[in-house]
Symmetry: C5
Subunit: 374 residues, 5 copies
C-alpha cells in the first residue's frame, strides 16, 4: 500500500504565532549527554537540567551537548534563553518534519537534517536531527536516543587528533557526515528490494508486485525529499561559507556534500528503474493476454468448422430423395467424415504454426529458463 | 468532473486602461476594522469611511486596517488618494484572481496571496488576500470577512510582546504566515482523500474513481499555482530585502518561505501519487480483462471439443453399413463417450492448471484480503 | 485535424542577404493613421505618405503612427530612411511570423508581439504587431487594420490624463497591455471548449473527440509560443530597463508582464488538462472493451455447457442396448434435462454475480447519470 | 527504420594525442576558391596551394577563402602553419561530426555549424561547415563543394554596398545566416511529411506508418542537435561579444540567433506532434480492436442461444412418453420455434442497439468521411 | 536482466570518520611506474616504494607516477605524508565508485573520472581513475593496470614535442582526454546493439527483446552518470581556471570538455531511442493481438450461423404434420441448404473484406519483407 502518511508533519495549532514552540503529544522526555573536549582532554557529563548543561560551556574547549527527546516545553524554552537561540529555530526543533536546511542566525548556524535508521526487522525509520553550531558549542536534538552518532562519540573518546584539535565547526561537519553515511545502507536495501521485485515482475507478475513497486517508488520519493534539500543547503554553504566555518573544515563539508549528491544520483536511478518495472509488468500482462487469446483462437478455430460438419450430417433431410445427403448412405461415409475432419484440423494447425502461434507457450517457457542464466 | 472554472478571473472590461479599477458585479460592500497598537496599548475601531480610517494613523503606532468586501468603487479610489497607493496595485486588489506576488512601490510593499478555507462540509474555497505595508501601516483586503486572520488579532489583543513591540513589517509577515498556515489542513485533507482513493482504486476500480483522481490532480494544480509563485516572490524578497523590512523580521519571513516550500514539496508528491493511481487503475483494468478472458477461454476450450464429439454421434450415417459409426451399436458406447469426455476435460483442466490460469480468481481474492493487513 | 500550418512563416527568398525587406505576395497596401498629443491637446491625421507622416513629428509632443498593411516595399524602405530605423528590424516587420521579442537599437526600442482576435464565428486569428518606440514617437505596424487598439485610441481622445502627460514609453506599454488583454477572452474560449470536450470524452468517447482534444492541445502550443517569449522579453526589460523607459512606466510594464505570466500559467494548466482527457478517453475505451468482453463471456459461458448437453441427448446411440442413454427413455427425462439446464445457468449466473460481472452495465449507467449532478 | 547511424562521427584513431589531425578515408581532395574585396573592388582567384592562397591576404581588404574537401592532410597542416591557426581547431575541421560551437582563440574566432541540404530526390544531408574569422580573413571549410553559400558570393559580386564596406566579421555573420536560412526549407519538408503522416495515421494506421513517425521523430532529434548548440553558442557570443566582432555586426548576429531560436521552437512543436501521432495511432488500434470485438460479440451472442434451442429439439428423447418434448408433435411447433428464435434475436439486437454497439461501424465510417472536410 | 549492482560502491565501514582510508578487501597490491621528463630527456623507473617514487621528483622536470592497485593501506597513507595530499582526497582514491569531480586543494588539483574498457568478449567494465596534479607532478591511481593510458606513454617516449615541453597541467589534460576518448568505442557498441535490437523489436518482438532494451537503457544511465558530472566539473574548471592550469592548456581542456558534451548528447539520443523501441514493441504486441482477434472473429462469425442452420435441420419435429419442417422432405432441400450456407459465408466474407480484416495477415507479412529493404 502506497504510504501517504509521511506527508503529515507535526504542527503548532493553527493560528499560533510563528516561533511558538509546541510540544508534540507523546514526545519523549529529554535526556542530556555532554562531551567537553580540547586537544588535550575530554570529559563526559550527564547534566540533569539545561542550566547544568549551560554551565559546562568553557572557553577554549568544545562542548557537544546532545538532547534526545523533545517532550519538555519548559526545557526547550530554557534553551532559547540560556543559549541565546532564536525561538523560531527552536520551534523548528520541536515541530519535526521540517525540510532539511542550513540557516544563518549571525553567531549561530542552524542545521536541520533527516536521519534514517534501518531497524533489525528491515523497517526504515526517518527522524529529524536539528543542530546548532556556535563558537565552542554544538547542540544536537533528536527525537529518540539514536545510535547513529555513537561511533562519532567513540572516535572523540579515542582521541582522534584531527577532530579534537579542530573547533566546533569540524564537529558539526562530522555529525552531518555521520547522518549522510547512514543513508547508504538504506540505499543498498532498496537496491536489493528492487532486484527482488524485478525478478518477481518477470517471473510472477501479480498485481501485488506492482503495488510493491509503487510502494518502493514512493519511499524513494520520501528519501529524495530528505536528501535533495540537504544537497542544496550544503552547496549554498560551500559557495558562501559562514564565518564560523574555518577553511580547514571546508574539504570535509565538500566531502559530505559529495556523498549527498551520490545519494541523489542513485535515488534518481532507482526511481527510473521503478518506471521500467511498471513497463515490464504491463508488457508481461499484455503477453499473457496474448497467450490466452491464442489458445482460445486456435482451439475454437479448429473445432468450429468441424462441429458445423458434424451438425450437417446430423440433419434429418429425407434421405429417400436422391439428392438429399447421399453421403449418409455411402459405405465409407463415416470414415470419409473423419478424414475430412483430420485434414481440416491439420491444415489449420499448419497455418497457425506458420503464424508462430503454436510454439508460444513452449518458447516463452524456454526463455524464462534462460533468463536467470543470463 | 475536472474543474476548469478556476482559471476564470475577474477582469476589467477589455480595452480599459491598465490601472482602471473595476468592481466585480456582486462583490460585497466593504466593512472596515482597525487595530492601532504600540508596545504599551491597543485600540480597536470600526471606522465607517476611508477618511475615518485614515485619521487613525498615528506616528509611533502601527495601524492594521482590514477591509472585507471589494464592492465599493468609490472607497477603493479613495484608498488610492488618501493612502497614496498606486492605482495599479489597487486595481489588482479589485480584480481578484491575481498571481501571488510581492511588488515594491518605493515606500509601500504590495503583497498578493491566496487564502484557502476548508468549509464545514469539506468544500475548499480560495480567496485573494491583498496587503499593503508601509511605515506604521498594514492594509489588508479580503473578498469576504474571513476568520483565518482572527487568531492573529487575538494574539495582538492578548499583547504578544514580540509582535506588539515590532513594526508593521512584522505584522505583515505574520499575516502571510497565518495564510500559509491555513494551507496545511487542506493538504492533509487531500492526503486523506488520496488514501481513500487509493483504497478504492485497488478494491473497486470503477471509472468514477478515476475521474475523482483527475479531479484531485487538478485541484492540486490549482493549489500549486497559489503556492509556487508565493514561494518565488518570498525567496526574491529574502535575497534582496526591501528597506521597509527590518533584519529582525527576516527570520520570520524565512520561516514563512520555508513553510511554502514544504507545501510545494508535498503538492508535488501528491501529484506524482495521482499519476501512480492512474497506472494502478489501468493495470487493474487490464487484470480484470485478463480474468474475464481466462474464464471464457477455459470454459470454451473444454466444451468446444466435447460438443463436437456429441455432434459426431448425432450424425445420421446409415449404421446398417458396417463401417458407419459402429460405436453407436456397441453396448458400452455411451459410457465410453462420457469417459472420453471426462478424460479430455481432465487433461485440459490439468493443462490450464499448469499454465496458472485456474487459481487466478482465488489467488487474486486472497491477495485482496492480505493487502489491507500489510 | 491537427494543424501544422502555423509553423510556416513568411521568409525572404533563400539566399537573400539578412536585412533584405521582402514583401509577402497578397499583403495589403498600407494605411496610415497618426495621433499627435501632449497633455494639453490632441490632433489626428491620416497622412498619405511616409514623408507626410514624418513631418508630424514635433518636439514636446508624442506621435503615434499606426501602419496597417505591409504590402508596400517602397514605403517600408522609406521608413528605414526617414525614421532612422534599422533595416533588420523593418525586415522583421515585413517577414511576419517572428518570435515575440524586445530589441534595443540604441535610441529606438523594437517590440514584436502576436495579437490574437476572436472572430464572430469563433475562429481564432493570430497576427504580428511590430512596434518601434523612440523619444516622442511610437510606430506600430499591423497586417490588417485591427480593432484591438481602438479602445486605446478612444482613451487618448477622451484625454486620459495620466497617459497624455506621460511620454512615448507609456504609450508603448499601453499598446502591449492592450495586446495582452486580448489574450484573456481567447483563453476563456479554450476553457469553455475544454469543458465541452471533457463532457464528450466522458459521455461519448468517439475517436473524433480525441482528435479535437489534440487540436486544442496544438492550438494551445501555438498560443504558448506567442506568450512565452513575450514573457521572457518583458522580464529581461524589467530587470535591465532601457534608458528610454522612465521609472514611472515600469509599474505598468510589470503589470503587463504579470498578465503574460498568468496567461502562460493557464496555458500550462490547459495543456495538462488535455493530457488528462486523453487518459480518460483511453480508460473509457478500455472500459467499453471490458463491458463487451463480459457480455460475451457471460452468455457464451452459460450456453456452451447447455449446448453440449443438448448435443449429448441428440446422439444416436442404439438405445435398445441397456447402458446406452437410458435417460432418453425415462418418463421425465426431458423435464429433468431442462431442470439441469436451469440449475446450471443459475449457478453460473450466481458465480458471475459474485465476480461483479453482471451489474456492470447497469452500474455504469447509474454512474453516468450521477456524474453530471456532481 | 530508425536511423542510429548519425551518431557515428569521424575520430582520430584511439590514443592519438588531441590536436592530431586525421584525415577520413575517402574524403575529397580540397579545392580552393578565394574572393578578395573591399568597398571599391572585388577579385576572384582559384589558388592551387595553401601558399598561393596565403599570398592573397592583403591589408585593408577582406579575403574569403573557401576550402571544399578535407582529404589532404598536408594541406590542413599547412593551414595551421601559414594562417597561425590552432591545431586543435584544424583537427576539429577534419574530424567532422563536431557539435556546433563558437571558440575564441585570441586573434581568431572559430565557428562550427552544421549545414543541411535538401537533395532533389527529397533526401536530407547534413554536412559540417567550419569557419575561421580573423582580421581581414574568413576561412570556410566544407566536406563537399556546396551551393548553399553561392547566393552569398553572388551578392558580393553584385557589390552589395553594406557587406562590401564592412569587415570580415560581417562576412562571417552572413555565412552563418546563409547556413541557418537553409534550415527553413527542411523544416517545411518535415512539416509536410508530418501532415501526410497524420492523414495516414487517422485513415490507414498500419505499423509501417508508426515506424515512419518514429523515423521523423529521430531525424528531428538530429536536427535539434544541430540547432540547439548553435543557439547556445550564438547567445553566449551576443552576451559577451568578441573584440573581433564590431558593434555594427551585432544586430545581424542577433538576427541569425533569432532565426535559430525559431528553428528550435518549431522542432520542439514537431516532436510533440510526433508524440500525439503515436497516441492517435494507439487509440486507433484500440478502436479497431473494439470494433472487432463488438462484431464477434453481437453475432455470437445472438446465435449461441438459438443454437442451443435447435440442439434441444434435436434431442432423441422418447416422445412416446407424454412429458418428453411434446412440442415436437405440435402442429405449429416448427413455426413456433422460428418465432421464438426471431423474437430472441430481435430482443438482443434491440439491447445491443441501446448499448450503442450496432451503429459503430457505420458511425465510424461517417466520421472518417467528415474529418477531412473539417 | 536489469543491473542494479552498479549502484553499490565501496565504503568505509559506517561510523568511520571522514578521511579514514579504508582498503577494499581483494583490491590488488599497488605497482608503481614513473616517467620523469623534460623537453630534452625522458627516464622511466619502476620504484618499489612510495619513498623511492618521491625521490624521483625533481625541479624543472615533470614526474608522472602511475599507481595500479589500491590494496595497500600503508602505501596510501605514505602518499598522504610524502606528497602532502589531503587525506580526504586519498580516501576518495581508495573508496572507488566516486562521482567524477574536480577538486581544488590549493597547490594540488584532484580529479576523479570513470574509465571504461571494452573487453574482448564484448563486456563493458567501468573503473575509477583518480589523479593529483601539482607543480611538476601528475599522480594517477587505477584499480587494475590498465592499457587505456599506454598510448599516451608511448607518445611521451616518442618525444611529442608539444607535450614534453609543457608542464604537468598539459599531461593531466592528456590523461583526461585519453579517458574520454575511450568512451567513443563503447558508445558505438551501444549504437550497434540498439540497431540490432530495433531489428528484433520489429521482426521478433519477444519479451526477452524488451528486457534487453531495458538493460541497454540502464547501462546508458550508468554511462550518463559517468559522463554528466565530468562535463559539469570541466565546464566549471574552464569558467574559473585554477592557477596551476596555464592558458596554453585551456584549449586542450576545452576540447576534452567538448568531447564529453558530445558523449552526453549521444547518450540522451540513445535513451530516447530506447523509449521509442518500447513504444514500437507495445504497438507490435497490440497488432498481434488484433490479428489473432480478427482470425477468431472471422471464422467464428462465419460458422456460428451455419452451425445454427445445421442444428435447425437436425431437429426432430414430427414432419408428418404439414407445417413442421417441410424443407426436409423437399427433393433439393439438402442442396438448397448448402447453397444458403455458401451464400451466407460469401456475404460475410465480402463484408469482412470491406472492413479490411481479411488481407491483414498477408499485408503485414508483405510489410515485414519490405521494411528491411527500406
Amino acid at each position: 500500500m502506497i504510504q501517504t502518511r509521511f506527508f503529515r508533519r507535526h504542527l503548532a495549532p493553527a493560528g499560533a504565532p510563528p516561533g511558538t514552540i509546541h510540544v508534540r503529544a507523546g514526545a519523549a522526555e529529554p535526556r542530556y549527554h555532554a562531551i567537553s573536549y580540547d586537544a588535550a582532554s575530554l570529559e563526559e557529563h550527564a547534566p540533569a537540567t539545561v542550566a547544568e548543561a549551560r554551565a559546562l560551556l568553557r572557553k577554549g574547549r568544545v562542548l557537544w551537548l546532545d538532547v534526545a527527546g523533545l517532550g519538555d516545553l519548559a526545557a526547550l524554552e530554557e534553551f532559547v534563553a540560556r543559549f541565546s537561540l532564536h525561538h523560531l529555530a527552536v520551534a523548528d526543533v520541536a515541530h519535526v518534519g521540517q525540510r532539511p536546511k542550513v540557516e544563518d542566525y549571525g553567531d549561530t548556524v542552524f542545521f536541520v537534517a533527516r536521519m534514517v535508521t534501518l531497524s533489525a526487522d528491515g523497517g526504515i525509520e526517518w527522524e529529524q536531527v536539528s543542530m546548532f553550531q556556535s563558537e565552542g558549542l554544538v547542540l544536537t536534538f533528536q527525537e529518540t536516543p539514536g545510535d547513529c552518532l555513537d561511533p562519532l562519540r567513540n572516535r572523540l573518546r579515542e582521541g582522534m587528533r584531527l577532530l579534537r584539535a579542530a573547533g566546533s565547526d569540524c564537529l558539526a561537519c562530522m555529525v552531518l557526515d555521520a547522518i549522510v553515511d547512514g543513508y547508504f545502507p538504506v540505499l543498498e536495501r532498496y537496491g536489493e528490494e528492487l532486484e527482488a521485485l524485478e525478478e518477481r515482475v518477470i517471473n510472477d507478475p501479480s498485481p501485488r508486485v506492482l503495488s510493491e513497486v509503487f510502494r518502493v517508488k514512493h519511499e524513494l520519493m520520501t528519501f529524495r525529499r530528505a536528501a535533495w534539500p540537504l544537497r542544496d543547503a550544503l552547496s549554498r554553504l560551500l559557495r558562501e561559507p559562514h564565518a564560523l566555518i574555518s577553511p580547514a573544515t571546508l574539504p570535509y563539508l565538500r566531502d559530505t556534500a559529495d556523498h549527498v549528491m551520490q545519494v541523489v544520483d542513485v535515488i534518481e536511478s532507482y526511481r527510473e528503474l521503478c518506471g521500467s518495472l511498471v513497463d515490464v509488468y504491463l508488457s508481461g500482462m499484455s503477453n499473457r493476454m496474448n497467450a490466452v487469446m491464442r489458445v482460445l483462437t486456435v482451439i475454437a478455430t479448429i473445432f468450429i468448422p468441424l462441429t458445423f460438419l458434424a451438425g450437417v450430417y446430423g440433419m434429418n433431410f429425407d434421405t429417400s430423395r436422391p439428392l438429399n445427403m447421399p453421403e449418409l448412405g455411402w459405405g465409407g461415409g463415416y470414415l470419409l467424415f473423419w478424414a475430412v475432419c483430420l485434414l481440416l484440423a491439420g491444415v489449420l494447425l499448419f497455418a497457425f504454426h506458420r503464424l508462430g502461434w503454436l510454439g508460444w507457450g513452449r518458447r516463452a517457457a524456454r526463455e524464462d529458463e534462460e533468463q536467470p542464466r543470463q
